[in-house]
Structures are given as C-alpha cells and as structure tokens.
Symmetry: C3
Subunit: 339 residues, 3 copies
C-alpha cells in the first residue's frame, strides 16, 4: 500500500492533469474528512451506484459537476496551495452537486443554479475558514449547508425551479408515541446503520453504504470503526427516545452522528479511551441536535443537511480540550484529585 | 459579614467536600452574575419554594441535578481552575435542569436528556467563552439558551419526550389593542415586578421573587437595586406599548430586562449616572427584544428563555465603551464640546 | 468640483454647526457607501420626493429623525472621531427611520420605538464593527437589518404598534410557473432597474431612483455604473429564474444586488476586469439570497431588508482575496499555469 501511495505521489507530481484528478478525488474523500484519492474514487462510485439504483443519474452527474466547478473556482481564485492539494475546496461542491438534484427537479435553470452554488461554495469555504481560523477550528461542511439552504429556499421564489422530494413547509407537531410493533432485530440495526453512512451523501442505499465503509477502510481503520459505531449509537439513541422508525431506517438520524464520531473520535483528536467517551457524548448529542433541526426547519421546508454535525463538532472542538490519555492518578472519591 | 466570608474561605480551602459545595452554590449564584455561595443557597431555596408551590418537585430536583452534572463535567474536563472556583460552570446547568421539567413531562427519557443537556451545557460554556474571549465579552446564559432550545425542539421529534406547558407552534399574529380595563394599581406593578425576578429561574411566584431579592442583597445592594429597577422599568415599558397584561403580570416581560439591568448597571460597568442611563436604554431595549423573540419563536414552539438578555447585553458590551463618569464639561448647546 | 470640496472642508472645519450638518449628510450618503455630503443631500431629497409621492411624509421625517438620533448617540458615546467624520454612525439610523414608518402605522408609541431603535442602531454599529474588525470586514447595513427586524417583530407583541403594508406571516409556498405573458420590453427593464435603486431606501419610485443615480454620480462614476449594472443584472436573473414579475417591477429583487455590486465592484476592491467578474458572481448570488430570505422570513412576517447584501458581501470579502489585475500569463488549457 505505501509503495502504491508513493508511486501515485510521484506520478501526480509530474503531470498537471493527474494532479487535477488527484485533488478532485481527494475533494470527494474530504466529505468524510479523508485526504485520500482512492477513498474519494470509491465515494464517487458509491454515489453512482446509488444514483443508478434510484433512477436519478443527475445525482451523480451533479456531484461530479459540483466537484469540478468548486475546485476550478478555488484554482481561479488562487486559493491556498496546501489546502488545494488536500482537496479542501471540493467536498462542499460535490455535496451541493448531489443535494440539488435530490431536492429540485433538473432543468436548465436548476443546472445554472447548481453551477453558481458550487462556485459560491468555494467562496463560502474560504470565508468560513478565515472566520474559524481565529479559534483554530475547521469549516467542516458548513459551506455546503449554507449554500444548499439558500438554493433550496430560493427555489420557493423562483418559478423555474421546482422542489420535489421535500415535505411541504409545516409547523412542528409532536410525533407522539410511536407504534409499539417495532422490529428491534439485528437486521433493522444493521440496515439502518449502513444506510446512515450512505446518507452522508444523501443516498438511501445499503450497497452504497457498504462501498462507503470500504472507502473509509482504505484510508483509515479508525475512521471506518468510528463511522460504524457512530451509526449504531445513533440508531440506538433515536430508537430509545422514540423517533420515527421510518426515518431511523432510512438513516436520517445517523449521517450527522457518523460524521461527528469520525471527526471527534479520530480526526481532530487522537483515539484513546477518554477521546472515545468524549466522541460518544458528541455522537449522542448529535442525535438530539438532528431531531431539533428536523423540527426547527419544518416551517421553512428545507432539509437539515449536515448542520447537526457542524454545530456539535464546532461546540466540541472549540473548548480546545486537552484530551490526551490521562496522565494522573485518575479519580479518588469520583473526583480528579491532583488539581 | 466579612469575618464570616473569611472563615468560609478558610474552611473551603481545607476540605475538598466543602470546596465542592462552595462551587456548586456559587454556580447557582452566577445565574444572576453573583459569585456568592450564600446567594446561591438562597436561590436554590427560592426554587424549592416555587417548585413546592407549583406542585412540581421535579423543578427543584432537576435544577440540583443539572447543577451537579454541569459542574462535575467541568471538573472531569479539567476546565480552568479560576472559572471553576467562581461557579462559572454551574449556572447554565441549573437553568437547563429547571427548564426541562418546566416544559417537558418527566420520564426516564426526559431525565436522560436532562443529564446529557446539563453535561453539554458545560461544553457549550467552554466553547462560547473561547469564542467571546476574542472580544473580551462573557458567555452569559447563552449556553443555557442554546442547549435548552435544542432539547425542547428535539422533543417534537422524540415520541418518548412530551411537551407540556407550551403554546403549540403558530404563526405570529398581531396582539391588537389590549382591553382598556387595565388595572394600573401600584399592586399590579409590585406583583409583576417581583414575579419578573422569580422568572429568571422560570418560576412564577411572588415569595420566590422576594427570596431572590434577599439573595441579591446578601451579595450586592447594587445588584438588588438594579434588579428591582430593571423589573419596574420593564413592566412600565411593556404596559406603555400595550403588551398582554397577563404576560406582564406573570413576569414574562421582565426576567431578561432584570438580568440586563444587573449586568450593565453594576456587574460589567461600575455604577454611575452615565452607566445608569446606558443600562436604562439597554433595559428598555431588552423589553423590545423580548417581544420580538416572543413573535419570532412562535412558529417553532419554544420559549425565548433569556436570549433577550444575552443579545442585548452582548450588543451593549461589545462596543467596549468607556462609561466612566464624564470628565469634561458636560454639554454645550446639547453637544459634547471638547472633541 | 475639487475647489468646492476644499472650500466645504474649510468651512466645516471652522463651524461646529456645519460640521454637524456635514456628518449628518455623509451619514445619509453612506447608505450606498459614499462618503460625500452632497450625495447624502440628494439621497434625502430623493426620499422626500418618494415620501410626498406616496403620501406618507412620515417616511422622510422618520428618516431625518433616525439620522439625527443615531448620530447624536454616537457623539454622546464618544465614538471614534474618524468614523464619526465619515458619517458611519448615521446610515443605519436613517434606514431604521425610513423602515419603521414604511411598515408600522405611526403613533406616539411608534415614534418612541423609532427613537429607541435609531439610538440602538448606533450601539449595534459599534458592536458589529468591533466584532468584524477581527477579520477586517465592515459592518455594512447589518445594524439596520438587525434593529429593524427586532422592532417589526416586536410590533406583533405590542398592541400600540400596528403593522401595515406587510403580508401576514405564512409558510413558504412555491410560486409555480409565472404567467407567460411577460412584458420583456426595454421599458420594463429600465423601470424595474431604476426602482431597484430607489428601493435601497425602501422607496418604490422611478424619480427617486433617478435622483439616487445622480447622487451616486456626484460622488463616483464607478458607483453609479455598478449600481445601474447591478440592477439590470438582478432584473435579468430574477426574470430568467421565473420570479414574480410584480416583485421584479417594484425593484424588490434589485436593492441588495445593487448594493452588492457597488461594494464589491468599486468600494472594497479596485475596479478591474477580474473584480468586475467577481462582483458579477456576487450580484447574481445576491438575487438567489434575496429569493431565499423572501421564503425564509415569510413565516415571521418581516421584510428581508438588506440582509442579502450584507450576507453576500461579507462572504465575498471575508476570503481577503487578492483580486488585482492578474500579473501572470492568464490561462493555459483552462488552468492557471504558474502555480
């Protein structure tokens, strides 16, 4: 594997076209915080599978167009080299490009707005990174979330953009006690958890989910592990609190917790038992935040996208905690002793 | 009094258990920005009285549990010593712990979310403090407001959490001219103003309000004075602008102005006539902001909590004004002369 | 012209009263980012014309009162001299003063809230400037937008403030395909574009629009040019995407893009072909953001004011891009070559 990686770096260093290919693939990989072109390639293949299965090829085409437009915009704006090399200007674009065909019917006007949205996602990425740099915290997928919200909201005012696949705006109503006949089989857990991972790219497909897990494995065993655990935890919490089983089954309570678990568990902190506990709290809270935004955005008729992941991960990274494995005598009478 | 304070400091310095008790009590006191354990104790007693009077003991138990969970989370995360000693990680937790039983029916799921919420309130406190430090402005009760909003909103999506005591989500409708037969007696003013102070802890009880005033007096005469004046001003402004008399009587236009008056009048600025004028403007504006959020949050079906206090106090502290008693000839022709 | 400017500076330097007049006029001019007293005077005359034409003199009186209150508040708070001299504390006040009589029926309570709002707009300006200074980005009209939102929202809760000229709160509904019989004449374009410029001050009047263009010309040919081009582009984009023709005709899709075009095209960047392209992208995106906020704010029953301008201009300024005319061989194979 290392030999392959070295040869790829070598080849990329010599060819402008391959460099371009490389940063696009890394851009796709960065959606789950992986700076790895093979991961990105497998993500794109997973999206293609999901698009074909859903009979909506525009998902895959939109994603690739968004990825290219966002990356080229960054090049034209002479964005930071290192960030460019890591694919940091592609991941918001690919998400915008998948999200728009998911929620709007495609037409020339929709393609126009997809291209504008992908280009703007790079500007929002630059802006957000500049703002968050003050606290040493990354932009995450906030540029995607903001851009996609604005585009979907705008569709309500534009006659040539038509919304589909979205519940109409409505005031929040308490879901009430869910039906008792809930299937708590291992099968339900497995299906929901894997679809939760595919929903990171807004795709509801178990094969796509499996491809995404493989894509993570290629880059980092920790990332794959935290993704799977994060998804299982989110399904368990959502079930325990009585959420809609249909939404849980479609993975809709899991995509943000999955990203939160990866981010807190092994990307921005080094894995350890303390970090795992902290990531667990974050993952549980991400389920609550997902539920909160499902209600909060109901009157606007826009999806939550990954705002729960962004908000929770920002809140949990901002304190700049020192979560190294604890170097003291741990606890005495339930309290840290050597204060 | 000073002798007592010294002896208490002495005792607290020698016993880990009493230190813990001390920072918990200070945590309660910090809800009204008082770093004083006796104030905190009286606040907790006032909450207990209100809980008993309302026949809802969970208010008091929730508050104490929230206080403990939030404080212990800060200890486990090895938060800043000085902040810990001042009780700065308890006040959001106690508020979360009182708010949840006020608006959700208690069940195992509700207690679970209360504990998660209180723990998270400490992380949000650390995050907010880190963000606001850039401008030298405190977090205030924002961590409570954000956490409590997310939890109450999430309850709409979770079947095992049921909302109560909240008007269902609705679009804002103009209140219209209020009935003419308004009782403008001194009694109305007094009742509304004292209940406004009890509502800082979401309690609608005149005895609790009186206990809170006593609690403030123990710590600072200025704080008690600004609280009372802030409450009276808010009742007057709300009446003058034609708000719902029932809401005014329940103290719902007053809790944020009360906190604003204390914060601007004597905590973050030193009392003077210029400062009093500035705090007066802030207090009046807090009534308007309270009314604005009452309308803005109606479609979401969540309470405003103390967002009006947080927003106004941030806006009035951020300019970093030099509000020392004026050292020039004051005014000539209505204008400051020596520019 | 330069002679006149010098003599004016001279005169202003010697008379306190004329200095006051000068900073008030500059305050009006700063609404379109022009530090020029004659521009400000023409803006005020344009408002007067619009107020008379609409039979609502309170618009003009409110605007002048707001301008004076906001500016005097800044003087009393001893705000930064240089900023004061440039009129930076007046533009939010005049906008608050025009907005309130546009959307609320005037009464003693409304005048009270107009004065409070104008005074607070200066505090919000100081706060916002202090916050944004961290990233070297200006406050723009955000203080106006925030203050005006809060006041209009509050009116729903205050019986003595009555809302008028605002659609009642409603959930967003897709506009659907607009009628085919659209008049695409040059006349429609011209009318809509000029009214779009008058709408910067919330006025729907073609003569006022023409006076505003003259006012800009007096200060800067670039500003006038970018205003006109921005307005035409916004009308074209809104038409192409199928927005409501009535709203386009009233200039409601144009006021924020106009301000965005001026800000990005010639105020915060130096005009060049690269800057013009960047400003074009910003202007197009401002139309989308305007449409988005039209939908997002529908449930609250408040106008968007200039939030689209503020948000887009912040996002486009925050990256701190170096948009000087390009000094490399421009492109090879569609890509910048000398990385």
């Amino acid at each position: 594997m290392t030999g392959l990686v070295d040869r790829w770096s070598d080849v990329v260093g010599r060819s402008r076209a391959l460099w371009l290919l490389d940063i696009h693939l890394r851009g796709a990989g960065q959606v789950m915080l992986q700076n790895n072109p093979l991961t990105g390639l497998l993500f794109i293949l997973g999206i293609c599978w999901g698009a074909i299965a859903a009979g909506n090829l525009a998902l895959a085409i939109g994603g690739v167009v968004g990825l290219i437009v966002a990356t080229l915009t960054a090049i034209l704006l002479e964005a930071d080299e290192t960030a460019l090399d890591q694919g940091l200007f592609g991941f918001n674009g690919i998400l915008v490009g998948v999200a728009i065909p998911t929620f709007l019917a495609m037409s020339p006007a929709t393609w126009f707005i997809l291209i504008i949205g992908a280009a703007v996602s790079t500007i929002v990425m630059l802006a957000t990174s500049h703002v968050m740099k003050v606290w040493g915290v990354p932009a995450l997928t906030f540029p995607f979330v903001l851009t996609a919200w604005l585009v979907v909201l705008a569709a309500y005012s534009f006659g040539h953009l038509s919304i589909r696949g979205l519940a109409p705006p409505s005031l929040p109503t308490p879901i009430g006690e869910t039906a008792a006949s809930l299937d708590l089989s291992a099968g339900f857990f497995l299906t929901a958890s894997i679809k939760g991972i595919s929903q990171v790219f807004l795709i509801n497909n178990i094969i796509t989910g499996a491809m995404f897990i493989l894509a993570l494995l290629v880059s980092s065993g920790w990332a794959a592990g935290f993704a799977i655990l994060g998804s299982i935890v989110s399904v368990a919490v959502a079930l325990a609190l009585g959420s809609s089983p249909a939404a849980i089954d479609a993975g809709l309570y899991s995509f943000s917790p999955v990203l939160t678990a990866i981010a807190l568990g092994c990307v921005f902190f080094k894995p350890s038992s303390r970090v795992a506990l902290f990531a667990l709290l974050g993952t549980v809270f991400a389920v609550i935040v997902q539920a909160a935004f499902d209600a909060a955005l109901a009157p606007l008729g826009v999806p939550t996208f990954t705002i729960a992941f962004v908000l929770v991960t920002w809140l949990f990274l901002l304190p700049k905690l020192d979560l190294k494995p604890h170097r003291h005598e741990p606890l005495e009478d339930g309290i840290v002793t050597d204060r």
